[in-house]
Symmetry: D2
Subunit: 356 residues, 4 copies
C-alpha cells in the first residue's frame, strides 16, 4: 500500500496538509521498548519550520499525541499510533490548485489520478508536512537502533552546487547549519539568501551515515539494504536521486580502484576503503553505511511561472501565493535519517528470524 | 521477501549460479495475455554473455523452459514459471571463496548472514546470472506494456567517465554497442579494452526511458514510481545509484530552472522541459519516464587484491581465477529495462483498481 | 502485520481497550467514493453495548472522528483514518489480570508474548472493543459494495444450541433481536436470561449472506473467498469456527447430494441448490455467498473460576469483577458483516486488475 | 498473491494439473537447515493416489526434483524450489469442461474469471494435484518444527457422518486407514465402498493436532493462529469449514463449561481442559493446538449430473468420464498437516523477531 512501508515493522502514514490531523501507526515494535518522548520531540524539532532565516515562517508545534501502543513511554506490543493536530486547516490560499497546477508539484498528477476528488489544499497527502509522521516513526526506530549501538547522523552535503568539505564522521545536528566545514556553510547560506531575494529556491544534497551496524543485515536481491532504503527515501517529497558509497562516482572508476580490500582491524574484518558504502550484495559488511540523496529545489517559488488552466486548456501565468521556503535541504536531514532508521530497524528485526 | 517483488503482479526469482536451474515465477499476469516467446528469447539474448569482445566467453543458452502458466503462449491465469537449466554446474573454480572473500563481492556478507551454509559457487544467489530470470519476467512485462502503447529503451550513458552524447529518443538495442553517438561509443570501447588489458574492469551509467505511459500511474509516498523502480533496480548486482529526470543535477539548480512549465500540446497537457523525469509526486505525468543508473566496475578482476583468510585472520593476496567480464554495463541494459518493465506494469495494474 | 488486513485495500486497526483512543486507517479506497456518515453511525450503533437487557451496561458513544482521507464525506484518495476516543480510560478494575490470568481470555498468552509489557487493562488490544474500528472499515466497505449492488445481512443462527428456523433471505437488522423466527428468538432470549441469572454466559452462531455479488471474485488457492473471509473473521474475538455453504454438513453428504447442479435462470447461469455457499474454487459463482461463524460464550463470567498466580504458581479461585455481557452474539452480527464487507470489497478491487 | 502464502517464510505454488510440471518455491528457510529428503518423500507418499482400494488408480511418482536452495540437503539461504514433472500431460479426457462446467468444480468460475483462457485440463491450477507442492513445503516445515520439538499428526475424524472414537493422542500415519478406532474405520471403509459402487462420493472430517508448541506463537487480531491456519487450509480444494478446539460445539456451551481453567502441572502453566484448542487471543498457550476441517465429497462422480452448455445456454446431462476417487479424505490428511506446518513455522519465525 502506498502510504505504508515495511515487512517486519510496518509504518502507515495518514493525513493531508490541511486535514484535521496527520499521523502514523507503527506496528511490530517489540513490547517492552522504552521510548524517550522528550528526545523524540527534540528530533522532531529539527524538522520543524520557522527555526531560522532560511525556512518558512509558518509555525507548527508538531507535538505528537500518542493515542495507543505506549504505556508510560513503553511499548505494549499493540500498534503505536500518534497524531499531530493541524491548526492551520482549510485556508483559502490554495483554491486555484485544482484547476491550474503548479509546476514541480503533484497538483496535476493528483488531479489525473483522483479524478478531481483530491484534497489539494496545501498539497494534500503529497505535502512535505507528511514527513512529520515519518519523523515520529523514524525517531522511534533511531532510539531502538541506538539501544543496539547504531548511531545515525547526516549533513548538508551541498546546496546549489556548493559542496561541504571533509568526511562526515560525527553528528552535525547540534549545529545551527549542519555542515562539517562552516566556511562552506556560510557560502551555502549566502546562496540560499540570494535565491530567496530573487523569489527563487535552490536544491542540494544530504549525506547520511549509519555507524555501528552489525554485518549481516539486509537480504539478497530485492530486499537489499539499498533497495530497502531507496524504497522509503523516495517517499520524501523532492528526492530525485540516491547513491550508496561511491555511488555515481563508482561508475567512473576501475575495479581495482573501487573494490574495497579486506583487512583485519582490532580483531574485526573491515575494509580499507568504503566505496561500497557498507553494503555488499545488499547486506551490511560492518563498515559505516553511507548514502547521499539529491533534493530538488522547492517547487514553490515567488517568480511567475507558466501553467495551463485544466478547464479551458488556456496558458496561464501563475503566481503562487504565500511565503515559501527557499531551501528545504536543512529540514530534509531528519527526514532522511528517519527514513533510514525505519528501513534499517526493519532489516534488523528481519535478521533475528534467521537466528534461532 | 527478499527474492520477490511486486504488489499487483508478483515476481519470485530462484536459483544459484551453479544450482540445477535458475528461474522465476510471475503471478498475476492477466489471463489471455499472449506472450511472443521468440521475441522474448531475442530480448534475453541481449543479456547473454559471450556476444563480443568485451564480455565473458562463458556460453550460456539461457533459453527459458516454461513449465506452467502458459498455454500455447497465452497466459491461463495461473502463475507463470520458467526455468533456465544450468549446464555449468559445480565447477571447482570457486572453492576458496567461503574462506577468503573476494573484494567487492558478497562472499563475506553472505558468509556472515548464512553462517557458512551459503552456496558460494559462482556467487550463488547473488550472481549476476540471476538477472536472467529477471529478464524473463521483464521481457514478458515489456510485451504487455507494449500492447498498451508503452515503449522501453535504454543506452550506455557512460563508461568510466566517457559520456554518450545527445538525447536518448529511440531504441539502441539493434546496435552492436548501444549508444547514441557512435564516436563516443568507440572511445568507451577503447576504455574497456584498456581495462581488460590491465586485468582491470570499469563501471558506467545506463539511461532508461519509458515512452507512451499514461499520466496517473504510481502512488504517493512509498509507492511512487521512483520508489517502485528503485526497489527493483537495486536488485541488479553492481547498481550503486539511481536518479530520475535531472536527478543529482537538480540538486544544483534553482526552482525556476528545474520546475517544468505546463503547456498544452496537441490537446494534451505536457511540460516544456522534463527535469522531473515524467514523475511528479510519485505519479507519472504523461511525459517520458527517464532514469539513470550507476553501475560499479565488475568486482572480479585479474589483478592481485588484498583479502583476509576468515579462518585464520591472516592477510592474503588474492588472485581471482577465471575469465572476467571487464565491463558489464552493456549487459546491464536489458536488465535495467526488465526491472523497469516489471515495476511499471505492476503500477499499471494497480491503477486499474481505481477505475470501476 | 498482525493488526492489518488486505491486499487491494488495507485496513490497520490500532488502540487498546483503555488507551486514549482506538481507531483505524483504511488505505486504497478509490478517490471520489461518497460515504454516508449518518448511515455509518447507524451501522456502528448495532455493535454498541447497552442497547438492551442482554448486553453490558457500559455506555460508549462510539462516534468516529474522521481525521483524514475524507473531504465532506467523499474520499480524496489519501488514507482514511478515524478515531473513537475512549472515555472509560485506566480504571482500576483490571489490575490483577497481569498476574492471575482469566480463563478463556488472552491475559496469559499476552503475558507470555509481551514479556509483561502488555496493556492488560480491559483486555488491551485483544478487547472486543477493537471490533468498533473494524465496524468503521466494514461499514464503509459495505456502502461501497451496496453501490455495486451487493447487500450484506446476517442473523443470529443459534444461541446455546437453540437454532433459528427458516432460510435467511432478507436483512434482520431492524429487529430488536435479529432472527428470522421470532418464536425461536424468544427461546434464545430466555436462555440468555437464565445464563445471566446464573452468573454465566452462552455462545452461539452467526449466519451471514452477501447477495448480488458478481461471479468471478476471489482467486484460486490462498486468496480464495473462503481464505480471505476466514482470515479476517477470526480476527473477531471469540470466533472459533467458520463454514461456507453446507460447511460441516457437507462432510456428511455424498457428492450427488452436495454438488450444485447448474441451470439457466432469467438468462443467468445459476445453481439449483447452493451447498457451496456461492464459492467454487475460491471464486464467487454469482449465487449468494453464505457462511456461518461459531462464537464461543463470553469468557467473562461472574462465577468463580480456577486460575494460577503467575508469580507464585499457586492455584487461585478467581472472581472476575464488573458487569458482564452474558451473550455477545447479537453484537457480533455487525462485526461479522463488517469483516465480510472488507474481505469482499478487497476481492472486488482485485478483480478489476484483470480487466483492462 | 493468490498462490503465495506467508509473511516470514513465503510459499509460492505453481503449475496446473496437466502443465509440464508443478512445483513450489519456499523463501525464508533459515540457512543451514538440514532437510531429510527420504523422510520428505515418505511424507509425500501419504498424499499419493493409488495406494489402495478407495483412491484413484492414476499413478504418480510425485518425486520432487530440487533445482535450487539446497546443497546436499542443507538450505543455503536462497529460495528453495522443487518441481514435480507431470507425466500425464494434455490428455483428451477433459476437453468439454470449458463449455459444460462440472457441478462442484471450479470450471465455471474459472471460465468467468479468466475469460476462457483457463487451462481447464484436469482442473488446471485448481486441481487437487496442486496439493503435492503444498506437501513439499509442509513436509519441509514439519521437519523444521520437529527440530524444535513440535509434532504434527492427524486422523480421519469422520466419513459421511460416521465418526472416529476416542481422543487423538498420537500419530495414525502408519496405519493403512488412519483412524484411532479401527472398528469405526471399518464402517467408514464400507461407506466409501458403497458410495463407489453407486458411482458416488462421500465427504468427511480431518482432525489435526500440533503438540509441543511453545506458548506465545501467533499475534492478535488478523495474524492469530486461527487466521493464519484458516488462510492456508482453505487453499486445499474441497475444504468448506474449519473449527479450533471445541469450535462449533463451543457455540452450544456456557462460559463456565467452555472456559479452560488454568493450573500448574510439572511446573508449567497448563489448562485442565482444552476447549480453546491451544489458542487464546490468537496466540498459542502451550497446550496442543487442535483443529478440525470439513472436506466436501469429491465433486467428480460417475452419476449423471445436470449442467448447462455455456455456449448455447441449453441444459445438458453430464457424464464426467474417467476413474474417480470416491473419497479424498484419507489423502487430505498430509495436506492438512502440511498447511498447518507452513502456517505454524511462519508464526514461529515471526516470534523470533520479538526476542532480541
Amino acid at each position: 500500500m502506498s502510504s505504508s512501508y515495511g515487512e517486519n515493522i510496518r509504518l502507515t502514514i495518514f493525513g493531508q496538509s490541511h486535514s484535521r490531523a496527520i499521523g502514523m501507526t507503527l506496528e511490530g515494535v517489540p513490547a517492552g521498548s522504552r521510548i524517550d518522548l522528550a528526545a523524540l520531540e527534540r528530533f522532531l524539532a529539527r524538522r520543524a519550520p520557522g527555526r531560522n532565516a532560511y525556512s518558512t515562517a509558518r509555525k507548527e508545534a508538531d507535538k505528537p499525541e500518542f493515542v495507543s501502543g505506549l504505556l508510560e513511554g513503553v511499548s505494549c506490543g499493540a500498534p503505536i499510533t500518534a497524531l499531530i493536530w493541524n491548526t492551520d486547516v482549510r485556508s483559502a490560499d490554495y483554491t486555484a490548485i485544482r484547476d491550474i497546477p503548479r509546476p514541480g508539484h503533484a497538483d496535476y498528477t493528483a488531479q489525473v489520478k483522483y479524478g478531481g476528488a483530491q484534497d489539494c489544499a496545501g498539497g494534500g497527502h503529497f505535502s512535505g508536512r507528511l514527513t512529520a509522521p515519518l519523523c515520529i516513526a523514524g525517531g522511534i526506530c533511531a532510539q531502538l537502533l541506538a539501544a543496539e549501538g547504531v548511531r545515525i547522523y547526516s549533513r548538508i552535503a551541498a546546496i546549489g552546487g556548493i559542496a561541504d568539505r571533509g568526511p562526515l564522521l560525527a553528528p552535525t545536528a547540534e549545529k545551527d547549519f549542519p555542515v562539517v566545514d562552516d566556511a562552506q556553510g556560510e557560502k551555502m547560506l549566502e546562496r540560499i539568501a540570494a535565491c530567496k531575494a530573487a523569489g527563487d529556491s535552490v536544491g542540494g544534497l544530504v549525506e547520511c551515515v549509519l555507524d555501528g551496524l552489525p554485518a549481516g543485515l539486509g537480504d539478497p536481491m530485492f530486499d537489499g539494504m539499498e533497495n530497502r532504503i531507496a524504497a522509503i527515501v523516495f517517499g520524501i517529497p523532492a528526492v530525485k536521486g540516491i547513491e550508496f558509497g561511491a555511488g555515481f562516482a563508482a561508475a567512473e572508476m576501475t575495479g581495482s580502484e573501487n573494490n574495497d580490500a579486506f583487512c583485519l582491524q582490532d580483531g574485526e574484518i573491515r575494509t580499507k576503503s568504503n566505496h561500497c558504502g557498507g553494503i555488499l550484495g545488499g547486506i551490511t559488511n560492518g563498515m559505516p553505511l553511507r548514502f547521499r540523496v539529491a533534493i530538488k529545489p522547492t517547487p514553490s517559488i515567488a517568480q511567475a511561472q507558466q501553467s495551463v488552466d485544466l478547464r479551458t486548456g488556456e496558458a496561464v501565468t501563475l503566481h503562487v501565493p504565500g511565503r515559501h521556503d527557499p531551501c528545504i535541504v536543512p529540514r530534509a536531514l531528519p527526514c532522511v535519517e528517519a527514513a533510514a532508521a525505519v528501513a534499517v530497524y526493519d532489516a534488523l528485526l528481519g535478521r533475528r528470524k534467521e537466528r534461532g
